[in-house]
Protein backbone atom coordinates (compact mmCIF):
# COMPACT_ATOMS: atom_id res chain seq x y z
CA UNK A 1 0.00 0.00 0.00
CA UNK A 2 1.18 3.52 -0.68
CA UNK A 3 1.27 4.72 2.85
CA UNK A 4 4.40 6.73 3.57
CA UNK A 5 6.64 5.63 6.39
CA UNK A 6 5.74 8.65 8.48
CA UNK A 7 2.02 8.13 8.53
CA UNK A 8 2.26 4.36 9.01
CA UNK A 9 1.90 4.12 12.78
CA UNK A 10 -0.96 6.59 12.70
CA UNK A 11 -2.98 4.59 10.19
CA UNK A 12 -2.00 1.17 11.41
CA UNK A 13 -3.38 1.54 14.89
CA UNK A 14 -6.91 2.58 14.09
CA UNK A 15 -7.03 -0.10 11.44
CA UNK A 16 -6.07 -2.80 13.91
CA UNK A 17 -8.62 -1.50 16.37
CA UNK A 18 -11.34 -1.41 13.74
CA UNK A 19 -10.46 -4.96 12.73
CA UNK A 20 -10.89 -6.06 16.31
CA UNK A 21 -14.18 -4.20 16.48
CA UNK A 22 -15.22 -6.20 13.44
CA UNK A 23 -14.77 -9.55 15.12
CA UNK A 24 -15.48 -8.59 18.72
CA UNK A 25 -19.31 -8.69 18.41
CA UNK A 26 -19.11 -12.23 17.17
CA UNK A 27 -17.02 -13.40 20.07
CA UNK A 28 -19.12 -11.51 22.60
CA UNK A 29 -22.25 -12.95 21.08
CA UNK A 30 -20.92 -16.50 20.95
CA UNK A 31 -19.71 -16.18 24.52
CA UNK A 32 -23.00 -14.89 25.90
CA UNK A 33 -25.45 -16.98 23.95
CA UNK A 34 -23.64 -20.17 23.12
CA UNK A 35 -20.65 -20.85 25.32
CA UNK A 36 -21.68 -19.48 28.72
CA UNK A 37 -25.14 -21.09 28.62
CA UNK A 38 -23.56 -24.43 27.75
CA UNK A 39 -20.85 -24.05 30.41
CA UNK A 40 -23.51 -23.10 32.93
CA UNK A 41 -25.20 -26.43 32.31
CA UNK A 42 -21.95 -28.36 32.50
CA UNK A 43 -20.94 -26.71 35.75
CA UNK A 44 -24.45 -27.01 37.16
CA UNK A 45 -24.35 -30.74 36.60
CA UNK A 46 -21.58 -30.95 39.22
CA UNK A 47 -23.16 -28.67 41.82
CA UNK A 48 -25.93 -29.20 44.32
CA UNK A 49 -28.61 -26.67 45.25
CA UNK A 50 -26.22 -25.07 47.75
CA UNK A 51 -23.56 -24.59 45.09
CA UNK A 52 -21.21 -27.27 46.42
CA UNK A 53 -19.38 -29.69 44.18
CA UNK A 54 -21.08 -33.07 43.91
CA UNK A 55 -21.48 -36.10 41.70
CA UNK A 56 -24.97 -36.83 43.02
CA UNK A 57 -26.74 -35.30 40.04
CA UNK A 58 -24.92 -37.57 37.65
CA UNK A 59 -25.75 -40.48 39.90
CA UNK A 60 -29.43 -39.75 39.43
CA UNK A 61 -28.99 -40.39 35.72
CA UNK A 62 -28.77 -44.04 36.56
CA UNK A 63 -32.30 -44.25 37.84
CA UNK A 64 -34.10 -46.83 35.73
CA UNK A 65 -36.50 -44.41 34.01
CA UNK A 66 -33.82 -41.94 32.93
CA UNK A 67 -31.38 -44.66 32.00
CA UNK A 68 -33.95 -46.29 29.76
CA UNK A 69 -34.83 -42.94 28.18
CA UNK A 70 -31.17 -42.47 27.29
CA UNK A 71 -30.91 -45.97 25.92
CA UNK A 72 -33.92 -45.49 23.69
CA UNK A 73 -32.47 -42.17 22.53
CA UNK A 74 -29.09 -43.69 21.77
CA UNK A 75 -30.63 -46.63 19.96
CA UNK A 76 -32.92 -44.36 17.98
CA UNK A 77 -30.11 -41.97 17.04
CA UNK A 78 -27.69 -44.74 16.22
CA UNK A 79 -30.22 -46.70 14.20
CA UNK A 80 -31.39 -43.70 12.18
CA UNK A 81 -27.81 -42.50 11.72
CA UNK A 82 -26.66 -45.89 10.44
CA UNK A 83 -29.72 -46.48 8.27
CA UNK A 84 -29.62 -42.86 7.09
CA UNK A 85 -25.99 -43.33 6.08
CA UNK A 86 -26.74 -46.62 4.37
CA UNK A 87 -29.79 -45.55 2.37
CA UNK A 88 -28.39 -42.09 1.73
CA UNK A 89 -25.23 -43.70 0.44
CA UNK A 90 -27.17 -46.00 -1.89
CA UNK A 91 -29.15 -43.10 -3.33
CA UNK A 92 -26.05 -40.92 -3.67
CA UNK A 93 -24.20 -43.79 -5.34
CA UNK A 94 -27.11 -44.31 -7.70
CA UNK A 95 -27.14 -40.68 -8.81
CA UNK A 96 -23.36 -40.28 -9.05
CA UNK A 97 -22.09 -43.64 -10.33
CA UNK A 98 -25.24 -45.34 -11.50
CA UNK A 99 -25.52 -43.80 -14.96
CA UNK A 100 -28.85 -42.11 -14.26
CA UNK A 101 -29.90 -39.11 -16.34
CA UNK A 102 -28.43 -35.80 -15.22
CA UNK A 103 -31.75 -33.99 -14.58
CA UNK A 104 -32.78 -36.75 -12.16
CA UNK A 105 -29.59 -36.20 -10.20
CA UNK A 106 -30.26 -32.47 -9.92
CA UNK A 107 -33.87 -33.04 -8.95
CA UNK A 108 -32.85 -35.47 -6.21
CA UNK A 109 -30.22 -33.09 -4.85
CA UNK A 110 -32.68 -30.21 -4.76
CA UNK A 111 -35.28 -32.39 -3.08
CA UNK A 112 -32.69 -33.52 -0.53
CA UNK A 113 -32.04 -29.89 0.31
CA UNK A 114 -35.73 -29.45 1.02
CA UNK A 115 -36.32 -32.73 2.84
CA UNK A 116 -33.28 -32.36 5.10
CA UNK A 117 -34.76 -29.07 6.31
CA UNK A 118 -38.31 -30.32 6.48
CA UNK A 119 -37.85 -31.52 10.03
CA UNK A 120 -39.70 -30.72 13.20
CA UNK A 121 -43.42 -30.30 13.69
CA UNK A 122 -44.65 -30.34 10.05
CA UNK A 123 -42.74 -33.54 9.36
CA UNK A 124 -44.47 -35.23 12.26
CA UNK A 125 -47.84 -34.13 10.86
CA UNK A 126 -46.95 -35.50 7.45
CA UNK A 127 -46.15 -38.89 8.95
CA UNK A 128 -49.28 -38.93 11.08
CA UNK A 129 -51.27 -38.20 7.93
CA UNK A 130 -49.48 -41.06 6.19
CA UNK A 131 -48.89 -43.80 8.75
CA UNK A 132 -51.20 -42.69 11.54
CA UNK A 133 -54.29 -44.72 12.43
CA UNK A 134 -56.25 -43.03 9.64
CA UNK A 135 -53.24 -42.24 7.51
CA UNK A 136 -53.01 -42.49 3.77
CA UNK A 137 -50.77 -45.53 3.59
CA UNK A 138 -52.50 -47.24 6.52
CA UNK A 139 -55.83 -46.98 4.72
CA UNK A 140 -54.30 -47.92 1.39
CA UNK A 141 -52.79 -51.07 2.82
CA UNK A 142 -56.06 -52.04 4.48
CA UNK A 143 -58.28 -51.36 1.48
CA UNK A 144 -56.08 -52.66 -1.31
CA UNK A 145 -54.04 -55.39 0.28
CA UNK A 146 -56.08 -56.24 3.36
CA UNK A 147 -53.10 -55.53 5.62
CA UNK A 148 -54.01 -54.17 9.03
CA UNK A 149 -50.92 -52.20 10.00
CA UNK A 150 -52.10 -51.27 13.48
CA UNK A 151 -53.49 -54.75 14.08
CA UNK A 152 -49.98 -56.11 13.57
CA UNK A 153 -48.64 -53.95 16.38
CA UNK A 154 -47.30 -51.01 14.39
CA UNK A 155 -47.85 -47.50 15.64
CA UNK A 156 -46.48 -44.19 14.43
CA UNK A 157 -46.17 -43.28 18.13
CA UNK A 158 -43.52 -45.94 18.68
CA UNK A 159 -39.82 -46.45 18.35
CA UNK A 160 -40.27 -47.78 14.83
CA UNK A 161 -42.58 -44.92 13.84
CA UNK A 162 -40.16 -42.37 15.19
CA UNK A 163 -37.26 -44.03 13.40
CA UNK A 164 -39.17 -44.02 10.10
CA UNK A 165 -39.90 -40.33 10.59
CA UNK A 166 -36.33 -39.36 11.50
CA UNK A 167 -35.03 -41.10 8.40
CA UNK A 168 -36.95 -38.55 6.37
CA UNK A 169 -34.38 -35.89 7.25
CA UNK A 170 -31.44 -38.21 7.96
CA UNK A 171 -31.27 -39.82 4.50
CA UNK A 172 -31.33 -36.55 2.52
CA UNK A 173 -28.70 -35.04 4.79
CA UNK A 174 -26.46 -38.00 4.01
CA UNK A 175 -27.19 -37.64 0.29
CA UNK A 176 -26.21 -33.96 0.40
CA UNK A 177 -22.95 -34.58 2.26
CA UNK A 178 -21.78 -37.75 0.56
CA UNK A 179 -22.57 -36.85 -3.05
CA UNK A 180 -19.57 -34.50 -3.41
CA UNK A 181 -17.38 -37.17 -1.81
CA UNK A 182 -18.59 -39.74 -4.34
CA UNK A 183 -18.00 -37.26 -7.15
CA UNK A 184 -14.44 -37.08 -5.86
CA UNK A 185 -13.84 -40.76 -6.61
CA UNK A 186 -11.86 -40.64 -9.84
CA UNK A 187 -12.90 -42.87 -12.70
CA UNK A 188 -9.27 -43.82 -13.28
CA UNK A 189 -9.03 -45.40 -9.82
CA UNK A 190 -11.74 -47.84 -10.72
CA UNK A 191 -10.23 -48.49 -14.13
CA UNK A 192 -6.74 -48.93 -12.70
CA UNK A 193 -8.11 -51.42 -10.19
CA UNK A 194 -9.97 -53.30 -12.93
CA UNK A 195 -6.97 -53.46 -15.20
CA UNK A 196 -5.02 -54.91 -12.28
CA UNK A 197 -7.59 -57.68 -12.05
CA UNK A 198 -9.75 -56.42 -9.18
CA UNK A 199 -13.46 -57.17 -9.08
CA UNK A 200 -15.94 -54.38 -8.37
CA UNK A 201 -16.22 -55.62 -4.80
CA UNK A 202 -12.43 -55.60 -4.33
CA UNK A 203 -12.24 -52.07 -5.71
CA UNK A 204 -14.81 -50.89 -3.18
CA UNK A 205 -13.22 -52.73 -0.27
CA UNK A 206 -9.63 -51.73 -0.98
CA UNK A 207 -9.93 -48.28 -2.54
CA UNK A 208 -13.31 -46.54 -2.66
CA UNK A 209 -14.51 -47.20 0.88
CA UNK A 210 -11.17 -46.35 2.52
CA UNK A 211 -11.12 -43.11 0.56
CA UNK A 212 -14.68 -42.33 1.64
CA UNK A 213 -14.15 -43.37 5.28
CA UNK A 214 -13.59 -39.89 6.74
CA UNK A 215 -16.70 -38.48 5.08
CA UNK A 216 -18.77 -41.49 6.07
CA UNK A 217 -17.67 -41.32 9.70
CA UNK A 218 -18.18 -37.58 9.84
CA UNK A 219 -21.67 -37.87 8.48
CA UNK A 220 -22.46 -40.68 10.89
CA UNK A 221 -21.49 -38.49 13.84
CA UNK A 222 -23.42 -35.56 12.43
CA UNK A 223 -26.52 -37.68 11.85
CA UNK A 224 -26.25 -39.09 15.36
CA UNK A 225 -26.14 -35.61 16.90
CA UNK A 226 -28.89 -34.50 14.57
CA UNK A 227 -31.25 -37.27 15.69
CA UNK A 228 -30.22 -37.00 19.31
CA UNK A 229 -31.21 -33.37 19.56
CA UNK A 230 -34.42 -33.65 17.51
CA UNK A 231 -37.07 -32.77 20.07
CA UNK A 232 -39.79 -31.07 18.05
CA UNK A 233 -40.44 -34.01 15.74
CA UNK A 234 -40.67 -36.38 18.67
CA UNK A 235 -42.97 -34.16 20.72
CA UNK A 236 -45.29 -33.39 17.82
CA UNK A 237 -45.40 -37.07 16.91
CA UNK A 238 -45.72 -38.75 20.27
CA UNK A 239 -46.74 -36.00 22.67
CA UNK A 240 -44.65 -37.29 25.53
CA UNK A 241 -45.74 -40.88 25.37
CA UNK A 242 -42.37 -42.15 24.22
CA UNK A 243 -39.77 -41.37 26.82
CA UNK A 244 -36.55 -40.37 25.07
CA UNK A 245 -33.81 -38.22 26.58
CA UNK A 246 -34.65 -34.86 24.97
CA UNK A 247 -38.33 -35.29 25.82
CA UNK A 248 -37.46 -36.09 29.43
CA UNK A 249 -35.31 -32.97 29.52
CA UNK A 250 -38.08 -30.95 27.91
CA UNK A 251 -40.48 -32.11 30.61
CA UNK A 252 -37.89 -31.36 33.29
CA UNK A 253 -37.40 -27.80 32.07
CA UNK A 254 -41.13 -27.20 31.76
CA UNK A 255 -41.75 -28.54 35.23
CA UNK A 256 -38.63 -26.95 36.64
CA UNK A 257 -40.23 -25.47 39.68
CA UNK A 258 -41.56 -28.77 40.91
CA UNK A 259 -38.71 -31.00 39.90
CA UNK A 260 -35.05 -30.95 40.68
CA UNK A 261 -33.27 -28.47 38.36
CA UNK A 262 -29.95 -30.17 38.94
CA UNK A 263 -31.27 -33.40 37.49
CA UNK A 264 -32.06 -31.33 34.40
CA UNK A 265 -28.44 -30.16 34.33
CA UNK A 266 -27.26 -33.73 34.56
CA UNK A 267 -29.49 -34.86 31.71
CA UNK A 268 -28.39 -31.96 29.52
CA UNK A 269 -24.76 -32.61 30.43
CA UNK A 270 -25.12 -36.26 29.47
CA UNK A 271 -26.61 -35.23 26.14
CA UNK A 272 -23.69 -32.92 25.43
CA UNK A 273 -21.27 -35.64 26.42
CA UNK A 274 -22.87 -38.16 24.09
CA UNK A 275 -22.77 -35.89 21.05
CA UNK A 276 -19.27 -34.79 22.01
CA UNK A 277 -18.14 -38.42 22.28
CA UNK A 278 -19.70 -39.18 18.90
CA UNK A 279 -17.75 -36.31 17.40
CA UNK A 280 -14.61 -37.19 19.32
CA UNK A 281 -14.71 -40.72 17.95
CA UNK A 282 -15.23 -39.24 14.54
CA UNK A 283 -12.21 -36.93 14.84
CA UNK A 284 -10.02 -39.76 16.12
CA UNK A 285 -11.02 -42.21 13.41
CA UNK A 286 -10.73 -39.52 10.83
CA UNK A 287 -7.17 -38.71 11.80
CA UNK A 288 -6.33 -42.38 11.50
CA UNK A 289 -8.20 -42.78 8.23
CA UNK A 290 -6.60 -39.71 6.73
CA UNK A 291 -2.96 -40.64 7.21
CA UNK A 292 -2.65 -40.49 3.47
CA UNK A 293 -3.88 -36.92 3.16
CA UNK A 294 -1.84 -33.82 3.83
Amino acid sequence: MNTSALSLPATLRPRQIISWFGVAPFFLFALLFLILPTLNIVVGAFRNAQGQATLQNLGKLFSPSIQSAFWISIELSLLTAVLGCLFGFLIAAAITLGGLPRPLRNAILTFSGVASNFAGVPLAFAFIATLGRLGFVTMLLRQWFGINLYGSGFSIVSFLGLALTYLYFQIPLMVLIITPALDGLRREWREAAESLGASGFQYWRLVALPVLWPSLLGTLALLFANAFGAVATAIALTGSSLSIAPIVLFAQIRGDVLNDPHLGYAIAFAMIMLTAIANGIYILLRMRAERWVK
Binding site: G113, F118, P122, Y168
Partner: protein, 262 residues
Protein backbone atom coordinates in the same frame (compact mmCIF):
# COMPACT_ATOMS: atom_id res chain seq x y z
CA UNK B 1 -23.41 -51.68 -17.03
CA UNK B 2 -27.11 -52.41 -17.40
CA UNK B 3 -27.02 -54.22 -14.06
CA UNK B 4 -25.62 -51.11 -12.42
CA UNK B 5 -28.30 -48.97 -13.98
CA UNK B 6 -30.99 -51.40 -12.84
CA UNK B 7 -29.86 -51.19 -9.21
CA UNK B 8 -29.62 -47.43 -9.44
CA UNK B 9 -33.17 -47.15 -10.69
CA UNK B 10 -34.28 -49.53 -7.96
CA UNK B 11 -32.61 -47.44 -5.24
CA UNK B 12 -34.05 -44.23 -6.61
CA UNK B 13 -37.51 -45.74 -7.02
CA UNK B 14 -37.62 -47.00 -3.43
CA UNK B 15 -36.24 -43.71 -2.21
CA UNK B 16 -38.81 -41.85 -4.26
CA UNK B 17 -41.62 -43.94 -2.82
CA UNK B 18 -40.46 -43.35 0.76
CA UNK B 19 -40.05 -39.63 0.22
CA UNK B 20 -43.16 -38.98 -1.83
CA UNK B 21 -45.70 -41.03 0.13
CA UNK B 22 -45.64 -38.79 3.23
CA UNK B 23 -46.07 -35.76 0.99
CA UNK B 24 -49.00 -37.39 -0.78
CA UNK B 25 -50.43 -38.54 2.55
CA UNK B 26 -50.11 -35.08 4.05
CA UNK B 27 -51.70 -33.45 1.03
CA UNK B 28 -54.45 -36.04 0.80
CA UNK B 29 -55.29 -35.68 4.49
CA UNK B 30 -55.34 -31.90 4.33
CA UNK B 31 -58.07 -32.07 1.67
CA UNK B 32 -60.43 -34.38 3.53
CA UNK B 33 -61.97 -31.97 6.00
CA UNK B 34 -65.33 -32.03 4.23
CA UNK B 35 -66.82 -35.49 4.22
CA UNK B 36 -67.01 -37.25 0.89
CA UNK B 37 -65.28 -34.58 -1.19
CA UNK B 38 -61.84 -33.13 -1.67
CA UNK B 39 -61.75 -29.48 -0.65
CA UNK B 40 -59.46 -26.76 0.59
CA UNK B 41 -61.66 -26.32 3.64
CA UNK B 42 -58.82 -27.07 6.08
CA UNK B 43 -56.66 -24.40 4.48
CA UNK B 44 -59.54 -21.92 4.64
CA UNK B 45 -60.05 -22.62 8.31
CA UNK B 46 -56.34 -22.32 9.06
CA UNK B 47 -55.80 -19.15 7.09
CA UNK B 48 -58.84 -17.53 8.66
CA UNK B 49 -57.69 -18.40 12.17
CA UNK B 50 -56.52 -15.15 13.81
CA UNK B 51 -54.03 -17.10 15.90
CA UNK B 52 -52.50 -18.47 12.73
CA UNK B 53 -52.18 -14.99 11.29
CA UNK B 54 -50.70 -13.66 14.48
CA UNK B 55 -48.19 -16.44 15.17
CA UNK B 56 -47.19 -16.83 11.54
CA UNK B 57 -46.67 -13.09 11.16
CA UNK B 58 -44.64 -13.06 14.35
CA UNK B 59 -42.41 -15.91 13.14
CA UNK B 60 -41.86 -14.28 9.75
CA UNK B 61 -40.77 -11.03 11.42
CA UNK B 62 -38.54 -12.94 13.82
CA UNK B 63 -36.98 -14.91 10.95
CA UNK B 64 -36.24 -11.71 9.03
CA UNK B 65 -34.71 -10.09 12.12
CA UNK B 66 -32.63 -13.25 12.65
CA UNK B 67 -31.31 -12.93 9.13
CA UNK B 68 -30.45 -9.25 9.51
CA UNK B 69 -28.73 -9.74 12.86
CA UNK B 70 -26.97 -12.84 11.53
CA UNK B 71 -25.58 -10.89 8.58
CA UNK B 72 -24.50 -8.02 10.83
CA UNK B 73 -22.56 -10.40 13.05
CA UNK B 74 -21.23 -12.87 10.52
CA UNK B 75 -20.19 -10.77 7.52
CA UNK B 76 -17.75 -8.43 9.33
CA UNK B 77 -16.35 -11.37 11.28
CA UNK B 78 -15.79 -13.56 8.26
CA UNK B 79 -14.34 -10.59 6.38
CA UNK B 80 -11.87 -9.47 9.04
CA UNK B 81 -10.85 -13.02 9.80
CA UNK B 82 -9.98 -13.58 6.17
CA UNK B 83 -8.28 -10.21 5.84
CA UNK B 84 -6.49 -9.72 9.14
CA UNK B 85 -6.75 -12.71 11.48
CA UNK B 86 -6.37 -15.91 9.48
CA UNK B 87 -5.12 -17.52 12.69
CA UNK B 88 -8.59 -17.19 14.22
CA UNK B 89 -10.20 -19.24 11.49
CA UNK B 90 -10.07 -22.65 13.23
CA UNK B 91 -11.53 -21.14 16.40
CA UNK B 92 -14.35 -19.45 14.54
CA UNK B 93 -15.08 -22.57 12.54
CA UNK B 94 -15.21 -24.59 15.72
CA UNK B 95 -17.59 -22.14 17.39
CA UNK B 96 -19.88 -21.99 14.38
CA UNK B 97 -20.06 -25.77 14.27
CA UNK B 98 -21.03 -26.06 17.93
CA UNK B 99 -24.76 -25.44 17.36
CA UNK B 100 -24.81 -28.57 15.19
CA UNK B 101 -23.26 -30.60 17.97
CA UNK B 102 -24.85 -29.22 21.15
CA UNK B 103 -28.55 -30.10 21.10
CA UNK B 104 -30.64 -26.89 20.85
CA UNK B 105 -32.65 -27.92 23.87
CA UNK B 106 -29.48 -27.77 25.95
CA UNK B 107 -28.68 -24.26 24.71
CA UNK B 108 -32.12 -22.95 25.55
CA UNK B 109 -31.94 -24.64 28.93
CA UNK B 110 -28.76 -22.66 29.52
CA UNK B 111 -30.57 -19.45 28.57
CA UNK B 112 -33.31 -20.16 31.06
CA UNK B 113 -30.77 -20.73 33.80
CA UNK B 114 -28.55 -17.74 33.02
CA UNK B 115 -31.09 -15.12 31.99
CA UNK B 116 -33.92 -15.92 34.41
CA UNK B 117 -35.67 -13.38 36.57
CA UNK B 118 -33.24 -13.76 39.43
CA UNK B 119 -30.08 -13.26 37.38
CA UNK B 120 -28.02 -10.14 36.58
CA UNK B 121 -29.53 -9.93 33.10
CA UNK B 122 -33.17 -10.98 33.63
CA UNK B 123 -34.12 -11.25 29.97
CA UNK B 124 -36.84 -13.84 30.50
CA UNK B 125 -38.62 -11.50 32.90
CA UNK B 126 -39.94 -9.09 30.29
CA UNK B 127 -41.72 -9.36 26.96
CA UNK B 128 -38.91 -7.55 25.19
CA UNK B 129 -36.24 -9.52 26.92
CA UNK B 130 -37.82 -12.84 26.01
CA UNK B 131 -38.18 -11.87 22.38
CA UNK B 132 -34.61 -10.68 22.21
CA UNK B 133 -33.42 -13.90 23.80
CA UNK B 134 -35.38 -15.93 21.27
CA UNK B 135 -33.95 -13.83 18.45
CA UNK B 136 -30.40 -14.37 19.72
CA UNK B 137 -31.08 -18.05 20.10
CA UNK B 138 -32.16 -18.27 16.48
CA UNK B 139 -29.06 -16.39 15.37
CA UNK B 140 -27.04 -19.03 17.22
CA UNK B 141 -28.95 -21.80 15.45
CA UNK B 142 -28.32 -20.14 12.09
CA UNK B 143 -24.58 -19.57 12.70
CA UNK B 144 -23.35 -22.79 11.05
CA UNK B 145 -25.25 -22.08 7.84
CA UNK B 146 -24.68 -18.33 7.77
CA UNK B 147 -20.97 -18.48 8.47
CA UNK B 148 -20.35 -21.30 6.03
CA UNK B 149 -22.16 -19.66 3.14
CA UNK B 150 -20.62 -16.21 3.73
CA UNK B 151 -17.15 -17.67 4.09
CA UNK B 152 -17.59 -19.67 0.90
CA UNK B 153 -18.66 -16.49 -0.85
CA UNK B 154 -15.63 -14.58 0.45
CA UNK B 155 -13.31 -17.34 -0.74
CA UNK B 156 -14.31 -16.78 -4.35
CA UNK B 157 -13.40 -13.08 -4.37
CA UNK B 158 -10.08 -11.41 -3.76
CA UNK B 159 -11.07 -9.38 -0.72
CA UNK B 160 -7.57 -8.03 -0.11
CA UNK B 161 -7.42 -6.35 -3.54
CA UNK B 162 -11.01 -5.17 -3.35
CA UNK B 163 -10.30 -3.63 0.05
CA UNK B 164 -7.14 -1.90 -1.09
CA UNK B 165 -8.84 -0.60 -4.19
CA UNK B 166 -11.69 0.80 -2.11
CA UNK B 167 -9.28 2.30 0.43
CA UNK B 168 -7.24 3.96 -2.28
CA UNK B 169 -10.49 5.61 -3.39
CA UNK B 170 -10.96 6.85 0.16
CA UNK B 171 -13.66 4.49 1.42
CA UNK B 172 -13.95 3.75 5.15
CA UNK B 173 -14.61 0.36 6.70
CA UNK B 174 -18.36 0.68 6.94
CA UNK B 175 -18.48 1.73 3.33
CA UNK B 176 -16.16 -1.05 2.19
CA UNK B 177 -18.27 -3.65 3.93
CA UNK B 178 -21.65 -2.41 2.75
CA UNK B 179 -20.78 -1.16 -0.74
CA UNK B 180 -17.94 -3.43 -1.81
CA UNK B 181 -17.94 -6.68 0.13
CA UNK B 182 -21.63 -7.31 0.77
CA UNK B 183 -22.73 -7.00 -2.88
CA UNK B 184 -19.98 -9.39 -3.87
CA UNK B 185 -21.04 -12.07 -1.42
CA UNK B 186 -24.72 -11.25 -1.84
CA UNK B 187 -25.66 -14.58 -3.37
CA UNK B 188 -23.91 -16.53 -0.63
CA UNK B 189 -25.54 -14.38 2.02
CA UNK B 190 -28.90 -15.03 0.41
CA UNK B 191 -28.39 -18.81 0.51
CA UNK B 192 -27.61 -18.58 4.19
CA UNK B 193 -30.58 -16.28 4.67
CA UNK B 194 -33.12 -18.55 3.01
CA UNK B 195 -31.79 -21.56 4.88
CA UNK B 196 -32.12 -19.60 8.12
CA UNK B 197 -35.66 -18.63 7.21
CA UNK B 198 -36.61 -22.27 6.57
CA UNK B 199 -35.17 -23.33 9.92
CA UNK B 200 -36.55 -20.51 12.05
CA UNK B 201 -40.07 -20.23 10.69
CA UNK B 202 -41.40 -23.42 12.29
CA UNK B 203 -38.94 -23.76 15.17
CA UNK B 204 -40.52 -25.25 18.26
CA UNK B 205 -38.16 -26.03 21.14
CA UNK B 206 -36.73 -22.54 21.75
CA UNK B 207 -40.10 -20.87 21.43
CA UNK B 208 -41.94 -23.39 23.58
CA UNK B 209 -39.41 -23.33 26.39
CA UNK B 210 -39.23 -19.52 26.38
CA UNK B 211 -43.04 -19.42 26.37
CA UNK B 212 -43.33 -17.48 23.14
CA UNK B 213 -46.41 -17.95 20.97
CA UNK B 214 -44.79 -18.36 17.61
CA UNK B 215 -45.71 -20.52 14.65
CA UNK B 216 -44.02 -23.68 15.97
CA UNK B 217 -45.92 -23.91 19.25
CA UNK B 218 -49.10 -22.95 17.40
CA UNK B 219 -48.63 -25.92 15.08
CA UNK B 220 -48.09 -28.27 18.01
CA UNK B 221 -51.18 -26.95 19.70
CA UNK B 222 -53.17 -27.54 16.51
CA UNK B 223 -51.73 -31.03 16.29
CA UNK B 224 -53.08 -31.86 19.72
CA UNK B 225 -56.51 -30.38 19.14
CA UNK B 226 -57.51 -30.71 15.49
CA UNK B 227 -57.58 -33.46 12.90
CA UNK B 228 -57.18 -32.00 9.41
CA UNK B 229 -55.73 -28.57 10.00
CA UNK B 230 -52.28 -29.88 11.03
CA UNK B 231 -51.89 -31.47 7.61
CA UNK B 232 -52.78 -28.18 5.97
CA UNK B 233 -50.17 -26.48 8.18
CA UNK B 234 -47.62 -29.13 7.22
CA UNK B 235 -48.32 -28.49 3.53
CA UNK B 236 -47.86 -24.76 4.08
CA UNK B 237 -44.61 -25.33 5.98
CA UNK B 238 -43.39 -27.70 3.27
CA UNK B 239 -44.21 -25.14 0.60
CA UNK B 240 -42.20 -22.51 2.50
CA UNK B 241 -39.21 -24.83 2.84
CA UNK B 242 -39.46 -25.72 -0.84
CA UNK B 243 -39.68 -22.04 -1.79
CA UNK B 244 -36.61 -21.17 0.30
CA UNK B 245 -34.55 -23.97 -1.25
CA UNK B 246 -35.85 -23.14 -4.72
CA UNK B 247 -34.88 -19.50 -4.27
CA UNK B 248 -31.38 -20.51 -3.18
CA UNK B 249 -31.02 -22.60 -6.33
CA UNK B 250 -32.41 -19.81 -8.45
CA UNK B 251 -30.10 -17.17 -7.03
CA UNK B 252 -26.95 -19.25 -7.08
CA UNK B 253 -27.58 -20.47 -10.59
CA UNK B 254 -28.80 -17.40 -12.35
CA UNK B 255 -27.16 -14.58 -10.49
CA UNK B 256 -25.10 -12.12 -12.49
CA UNK B 257 -22.67 -12.06 -9.60
CA UNK B 258 -21.80 -15.70 -9.85
CA UNK B 259 -21.53 -15.51 -13.60
CA UNK B 260 -19.22 -12.52 -13.48
CA UNK B 261 -17.10 -14.18 -10.87
CA UNK B 262 -16.29 -17.22 -12.99
Amino acid sequence: MTGKRFWSWLAVTFGGLYFLLPLVGMFDFSMRMQRGAYSFEAYRVVLADPRFQQTFGYSVVLALLTIVLGILIVVPTAYFVRLRFPGLRPIIEFITLLPLVIPPIVIVFGYIRIYNTSSILPLTGSWWGTNILLLFGYVVLSLPYMYRSVDTGLRTIDIASLTEAAQSLGAGWARILTVVILPNVFVSVLSGAFLTFAIVIGEYVFAALLNVNSFGPYMVWMGGNRAYEPSALAVIAFAITWACMGLIQLFTRFSIFSIVRR
